[in-house]
């Protein structure tokens, strides 16, 4: 197909119609900043004390291994800002979970800055952000 202005406009309109339709059908999801702000509250934020292990790039966003390691944390929250639902998973650790480490597999809709937050017993929140490239989105 020759790429003309007409075909480009038609494709663009069709794409927007496709995106707009399901978006209207869903109830409003809080955006990533709201999810992050709700978790942090007015706690002091620091950038140490948490590690977020995920690949730099993946071909397939349907199944991405992610490891969050936050020694001492009471609770961790993982956020994918480019996903339809921003909060992906939160984990509360009991007294036996002494390493405060969790591994799981998540879906990623596209390339994005994944955020991990950890609530510490001293009232601070540790925050770690890591970029990941995703070739094929896993939220379709």
């Amino acid at each position: 197909m020759r790429l003309t202005r007409r075909t480009m406009m038609t494709t663009a309109c069709a794409t927007w119609a496709g995106i707009g339709l399901p978006a209207r059908a869903q109830p409003a999801e809080p955006d990533a900043d709201e999810v992050i702000a709700a978790f942090i509250g007015d706690a002091p934020v620091r950038s140490d004390g948490i590690t977020l292990d995920l690949p730099e790039s993946v071909e397939d966003g349907y199944r991405v291994r992610v490891e969050v390691d936050a020694p001492g944390a009471e609770e961790v929250l993982l956020i994918a800002p480019a996903n339809p639902v921003k909060a992906v998973v939160s984990v509360q650790f009991g007294a036996m979970a002494v390493t405060h480490r969790v591994v799981t597999r998540i879906r990623l809709a596209g390339p994005q800055q994944v955020v991990a937050l950890a609530r510490m017993p001293d009232g601070t929140v540790c925050r770690k952000t890591q970029h990941i490239d995703v070739l094929i989105g896993g939220c379709g």
Binding site: L21, P22, A25, Q26, Y62, R63, V64, A80, N83, P84, V85, A87, V88, V89, S90, V91, Q92, F93, G94, A95, M96, A97, V98, T99, R101, V102, V103, T104, R105, I106, R107, L108, G138, C139, G140
Partner: protein, 109 residues
């Protein structure tokens, strides 16, 4: 209730007192996000496992709140320090109200 749901637990049968053991869990579940459309363009309703609660003789080890961003067949790996023999219990809570459970004992010497 979803059919053919299988749970899988991996943790050692025995451990020394004070050892930190690794627990791996998986459940077969489609984790329908609620964002996909069927062939007629109608959104498929959300149907996911939304909670995994692991306890050891009634004490919480981890309590996981799952959202649609978790992949099909949810997998979780975490650690626990064991000081005595007991039973690890696992409960997966489905959106449809079903609760799938599994248990595995560990002998601590």
């Amino acid at each position: 209730m979803a059919t053919g749901v299988k749970t899988r637990i991996k943790l050692p049968d025995t451990a020394g007192a004070g050892d930190v053991i690794t627990i791996k869990t998986q459940i077969t579940h489609q984790m329908e996000t609620g964002h996909r459309l069927d062939s007629a363009g109608v959104p498929l309703p959300r149907s996911i496992i939304h909670r995994l609660h692991c306890t050891f003789d009634g004490e919480t080890v981890v309590d996981v709140d799952l959202r649609p961003g978790i992949s099909t067949n949810p997998f979780f790996e975490f650690d626990a320090q064991v000081t005595r023999s007991g039973v690890f219990q696992f409960a997966w809570h489905d959106d449809d109200g079903a609760v799938y459970t599994a248990a595995k004992a560990i002998s601590v010497t």
